[in-house]
Symmetry: C2
Subunit: 99 residues, 2 copies
């Protein structure tokens, strides 16, 4: 997924989206529907932060939205790795049982 100039990989889909009142052009190999889903997540997160902190300016709301989404991403990364590790252990113990 790319957000402006400078990408190298071939990208086919483009979509204009509104994120918290500003216009952005997103492009990527993913479907237009997926690109809109990504934009919607950022927009919703910014709205939530903006409502909780009405005096924050646009750029701080955007950074804090990025922080919250990064938090969700890193938690899921950790959870995913834990699951893979436990599957590995389970598969090792099954191999030992069978041998």
């Amino acid at each position: 997924m790319s957000t402006g100039q400078g990408q190298k990989e071939p990208e086919s889909n483009r979509v204009r989206v509104d994120i918290y009142g500003q216009d952005y052009a997103l492009k990527g190999q993913a479907s237009v529907e997926y690109l809109r889903r990504v934009a919607r997540l950022v927009d919703e997160q910014m709205k939530e932060i903006g409502e909780q902190n009405p005096r924050l300016d646009y750029s701080r709301i955007a950074v804090l939205a990025a922080v919250n989404i990064a938090d969700r991403y890193l938690r899921l990364c950790d959870e995913y790795e834990d699951l893979l590790r436990s599957l590995e252990r389970e598969s090792e113990s099954r191999i030992r049982e069978e041998s």
Copy 2:
């Protein structure tokens, strides 16, 4: 994790971080180390976008960083769900084999 005023849950850790040259106060029940890790991901993403698009202003860089992190998050969500679904199918087929 919280990013300012208005949170309800008990939160113990606070840390001041620099994200792309601006100061932010993050707080959360997670460790200070984890809070810094979250901030670092946003900072790195903003630096990458800022380098690729030197004429973009701070707030657009922040939104596009949020978009890129949201993209990574949603891809991982889909991957995680696919894995859970395939584990479920595997476990069902094992139950059928054993019965």
